[in-house]
């Protein structure tokens, strides 16, 4: 179903190229149903409460609109800003040298983009179709063979206009023997909106990608995010996601280990508050021999918040020598908080080492007693334990700007908790 019955030709300005891909996505969208509660991938979700008809796609570049304050605002270079799905600012001249690195609109890259498009994912479900149909401008980060980006590329992804469906799209293409680090900050205005970002990352042979995202959306924003990673032979990917904001925020991470010897490390830290729902779906797909994937997701749930972790490790018959891990740990900080944890294995070969584990528990009473016995009052002791719990994942975020941002968000959450309970 297309909730926005208007045709694309009528509404996007002339500057937005109409591609065949968009038209076929629109056609597919009109035939694709909205998620249903009985579908396993939407189990425990509250997506069915989404009032899509009250929203409209973003047909106009919001360049003159005010922007949301971000820790990236002080950056003078290496920064791209995406607002309501449009590329609104770019300070990336440092990357446009003779090495052939490209950071910018996919449409402007011209004929060279053909070989990149073959790595892109095809729209699979309703939200993919929505993104492919209504994404106005796609950001492409292309790093050619043998090139290492010395500094990270920061992307500020913001929804600035209330009442809109924003469809940001980012494509990352790493050639062979190349290296890049990409950091996204997702944020939004306080009004109601929906963000449907899609990231497609292709990591060439023997290349290394570090991708980090911190989601700190406004309280009334809904997000359905997709991140697709494709790994060629001997490539290496580190994926980190921090999720703090949003009303309902879902992040689906697909990792396809297509090349022999490729490695993927996935970690996440999330903290739910009030009535929030944070929803993670992960897929570690081992398609080639001697591939490795390790996943560690950690969350804390306070107030009436809910979290869902549902993950699948799939090992195909040819993926002998696979090593795969999946661990999800949750701390429940209040009576009404709720965490669902569903790890799954699907293994079609014998020669593998796979394990999964998941826990949902309150704050450890023994740890609490131990810290209190040193003269620290209960709430401060809890704060230390929670920060320590997250340390296992946050300590691996090796970007000073991002570490500082996560620290400050976390400190604010814990201090607010302290204030509200201390009263």
């Amino acid at each position: 179903m297309n909730p926005f019955s208007n045709q694309i030709e009528d509404i996007f300005p002339d500057t937005v190229p109409l591609s065949e891909a968009r038209n076929s996505a629109l056609e597919q969208l009109s035939k694709t149903e909205f998620p249903k509660p009985e579908q396993e991938v939407w189990k425990y979700s509250k997506i069915f409460d989404l009032d899509l008809e009250s929203l409209t796609p973003s047909f106009k570049n919001p360049a003159d609109k005010k922007t949301e304050p971000s820790f990236l605002d002080t950056k003078e270079s290496g920064l791209v800003e995406i607002s309501d799905g449009w590329l609104t600012e770019q300070k990336t001249s440092t990357f446009s040298d003779s090495s052939g690195v490209y950071v910018g609109s996919l449409a402007n890259m011209g004929v060279d983009s053909g070989h990149i498009e073959k790595h892109l994912s095809k729209p699979k479900d309703f939200f993919d179709c929505l993104n492919y149909s209504y994404n106005p401008e796609t950001l492409l980060i292309h790093v050619p063979d043998g090139v290492t980006l010395e500094s990270p590329i920061y992307i500020k992804v913001q929804s600035v206009t209330a009442g809109l469906v924003a469809c940001p799209r980012i494509i990352v293409n790493l050639g062979e023997d190349s290296e890049a680090k990409i950091i996204e900050h997702h944020l939004s205005s306080s009004g109601e909106s929906l963000s449907v970002p899609v990231l497609d990352a292709h990591v060439g042979q023997n290349s290394r990608l570090k991708h980090r995202v911190v989601q700190d959306l406004g309280e009334k924003t809904w997000q359905v995010s997709k991140q697709n990673f494709r790994l060629e032979k001997d490539s290496y990917v580190e994926i980190f996601a921090a999720a703090f904001g949003g009303d309902y925020a879902r992040n689906e991470i697909r990792c396809e280990l297509k090349g022999r010897g490729s490695e993927a490390y996935l970690s996440a830290a999330y903290f739910g508050n009030k009535e929030q729902t944070l929803d993670f779906r992960t897929f570690q797909k081992h398609e080639a021999p001697n591939t490795t994937s390790k996943l560690l997701f950690k969350g804390a749930l306070d107030g009436d918040s809910r979290s869902i972790y549902s993950g699948l490790i799939k090992v195909l018959p040819e993926a002998v020598g696979t090593k795969a891990q999946q661990t999800n740990r949750n701390i429940k900080l209040s009576e009404n908080a709720w965490a669902e944890s569903v790890p799954n294995l699907e293994i079609e070969t014998n020669d593998v080492v796979c394990n999964h584990a998941s826990t949902v528990a309150g704050i450890d009473e023994e740890q609490l007693f131990y810290l209190e016995s040193k003269g620290i009052e209960t709430l401060v002791a809890e704060r230390l334990i929670i920060a320590g719990f997250f340390n296992e994942v946050t300590s691996k975020v090796d970007d000073p700007l991002l570490v500082e941002e996560i620290d400050s968000i976390m400190t604010e959450i814990l201090e607010n908790r302290f204030k509200s309970q201390g009263e």
Partner: protein, 245 residues
């Protein structure tokens, strides 16, 4: 009520899970005094330490605990610590992701001290105890040997402002040299800084250095005999048989 300073445990009885675990414990520890508590396994020694510190799961049914005249029974664990009690647990608990410096910073803030001064004090004291500086940036008790844990605890005790230390088998896990270092330093704290000590132990090695003023024998949650330091030697020779019913 006198204004005299001491940790006073009087007629202390406690239950855990509906079972009586302490059946009348009387101990008075004055500043600078060292008291040893000895007894067979399962006699309630660790229980006594936990009840003193207000560990959840224990219910005091009668008797009293006061510090320098202050009734500690209504106090929470952290309030007891702030009132001057310090426990070294038999098995210090692992707290992943939290460093000793994080802990000490919060302790300093709670007592309105300068965290930086506390940390430099910690570093000085670490040298006295032969603790490598790298240990200070490790996660609390995570992947530490028994001896390292105990030395860490002793370190925290010595930089704390505690008036009374409850040491639950601080000697277990420590090698002979470390034991001597730690025990001598605690002994000095008792003599110089007026620290009152309640040391639970099975062994005279610790008591040789700590030189207890009194030795208490705890059997079935009851103090059955109290005597001078020599009592410990006698216990080592004869065991606890004569106390069993």
């Amino acid at each position: 009520m006198t204004n005299e300073k001491f940790l006073n445990i009087e007629g202390l009885c406690a239950k855990a899970g509906g079972k009586k675990v302490l059946n009348g414990v009387d101990i008075q520890i004055k500043p600078s005094e060292v008291h040893a508590v000895m007894g067979p396994n399962g006699s309630g020694k660790s229980t006594l330490a936990h009840v003193l510190m207000g560990r959840p799961g224990y219910e005091v049914t009668s008797g009293s605990i006061t510090i320098d005249g202050l009734d500690v029974l209504p106090l929470k664990t952290w309030e007891r610590a702030q009132a001057g009690m310090f426990i070294v647990m038999q098995q210090p608990i692992e707290v992943p992701g939290v460093k000793i410096s994080d802990l000490l910073t919060e302790v300093a803030v709670a007592s309105e001290l300068d965290p930086q001064e506390s940390l430099s004090l910690l570093r000085e004291e670490a040298v006295n105890l032969g603790i490598d500086e790298s240990l200070l940036s490790r996660e609390l008790n995570v992947d530490l040997s028994g001896g390292e844990k105990k030395r860490n605890e002793a370190l925290q005790l010595l930089v704390s402002e505690a008036s009374y230390a409850i040491l639950d088998e601080i000697d277990s896990g420590l090698d002979l040299d470390s034991l001597a270092l730690v025990a001598e330093r605690i002994n000095r704290a008792a003599k110089d800084d007026q620290l009152g000590v309640l040391a639970i132990t099975h062994f005279n090695r610790l008591l040789d250095i700590l030189e207890p003023d009194q030795v208490h024998v705890l059997v079935d949650g009851c103090i059955v005999e109290t005597g001078p330091a020599e009592l410990a030697l006698q216990l080592e020779k004869d065991g606890y048989q004569k106390f069993s019913k």
